[in-house]
Symmetry: C2
Subunit: 283 residues, 2 copies
């Protein structure tokens, strides 16, 4: 399989390494905006060769994997369109999927049969090709979100690619994906950013952070995530995020009402349900 | 120094062990409701002897340390009152301090000169005397919250006790303590309980938890905390918690408005401020 990886950072670089490890890829061509990053990728053995134009990287590829920030995808798809054939499989790694479908519609006019959006649930707080490693996807989940236009052979091949990279692949609709991710990832990030920014507004914030114990550290760890990436997610998955914030606001208001009313029994049941759900489903 | 530890669990047991380690305590008497727990504490070498009545444990003590749940303190203080002298120092380890002052007022009629509330910012997710260890307080913070009535020698002795247990002692008012803890500990716990309970309400919750990645695990870890303890904190530090929830609601509403308006620049600045504050003050 000849692979074109557009965007050779942590995510794209790790995929390239994993596909070399398994032997699934016969050749991997990289594209990135900065040539020094591409040269580094060559030196590290992550890719076989590179192109300075995305359309050149894509020419002759069996699979094109978009590993750039979400907001770069539309213009990239516009540029590579002339190099795509009926047989080219196009997939991506974006954390929101509705926006990728929209970008493809805008760039290509319609969704090609080989188009299969995907999202690996993996990553570290680091970025760049130096941070990439072949084991990143081992036993991690990858959600593929085929659209109506996606043909079976394309869906199967994308699934195979991720499995050969070590991942466990599951499939759901674009809408379901965006809602699940809004609930389990986007909402928690926004809640953590909100808490830390609230405390940082307080004139006594240094003192407050100073007394923060381990629980606070864990709770706010995700507030140290990349602000640019999270801005992009916040605008690209806007509808699902807003709906999840609203549900959260309602639920917080109901807990607040219980505290206000000193309803000890209902407060206890609330916390017991939460603890039981977490203990049953997480770790 | 003769110490009476009322409530010999993780917190009281670890304090007893630490005071034996440093040699600061010449004798440690324990009291608990269950005799088998006290016998276990003797076997483990945590306390020297025990009493089955709190007033007997307190008789002759230089310092009485209340290490029971917050809601047990008032009745305990009522029972030990006859055994207290002008020289007895009374302190506690409760996570909220206003409620302890109130309990002392109710039980004793007025605040004694030897009364110095305190709160060690330490603990693990375990409980019981078997979980106690001498190093629990090493380099951890203990906040003491002297009241107007507290005399200097009592404040100094409580400070000395915690320092000999390995802790770093800082002092603030009762009100400030309750507000700081509401912001850095109580609010995050309530936010985490709310998120997990919200997702557990969803009929698809198993699927949702199933896709949760590492960030979600960290963010919700505190939702696995003891529901009874958190119910008690929620009602005993009610005012500060409600005020902090309100501030949080307002701040979340303003982030939601930015997302709704797709105000990319302001969203970015919001996240950047949060990340900068966390990176500067935590870890």
């Amino acid at each position: 399989m000849k692979i074109a990886v557009l965007g050779v950072g942590l995510i794209g670089g790790s995929l390239a390494r994993a596909l070399k490890r398994s032997g699934w890829a016969t050749s991997i061509v990289g594209y990135a905006r900065r040539e020094d990053e591409l040269q580094k990728a060559i030196e590290l053995g992550v890719i076989d060769r590179y192109a300075l134009e995305p359309e050149a990287a894509v020419a002759g590829a069996d699979i094109v994997v978009l590993c750039t920030p979400l907001k770069a995808m539309e213009s990239l798809l516009t540029r590579i369109q002339p190099a795509l054939t009926d047989k080219t499989i196009i997939t991506d790694v974006g954390s929101a999927k509705g926006v990728v479908v929209e970008a493809a519609m805008n760039a290509l006019g319609s969704l090609p049969a080989g188009f299969v959006p995907a999202h690996p649930i993996a990553g570290t707080e680091k970025s760049g090709v130096e941070a990439s490693f072949a084991e990143l996807y081992d036993d991690r989940k990858v959600i593929i979100t085929p659209v109506e236009e996606s043909v079976d052979w394309a869906v199967e091949t994308v699934k195979e690619m991720w499995e050969s990279a070590g991942a466990v692949v599951e499939s759901m609709t674009v809408e379901k994906h965006d809602d699940v991710l809004a609930a389990t990832s986007h909402l928690p990030h926004l809640l953590a950013f909100t808490l830390v920014d609230l405390l940082a507004h307080n004139s006594e914030h240094k003192k407050i952070f100073h007394y923060a114990a381990g629980g606070f550290r864990d709770f706010t760890r995700i507030a140290s995530s990349d602000p640019v990436m999270w801005r992009d997610i916040s605008v690209t998955n806007k509808d699902a995020i807003l709906s999840n914030i609203e549900q959260y606001q309602n639920h917080l208001a109901s807990l607040k009402a219980l505290v206000e009313a000193q309803d000890e029994q209902s407060i206890l049941e609330f916390y017991q349900r939460a603890k039981a759900a977490r203990d049953a489903h997480i770790e």
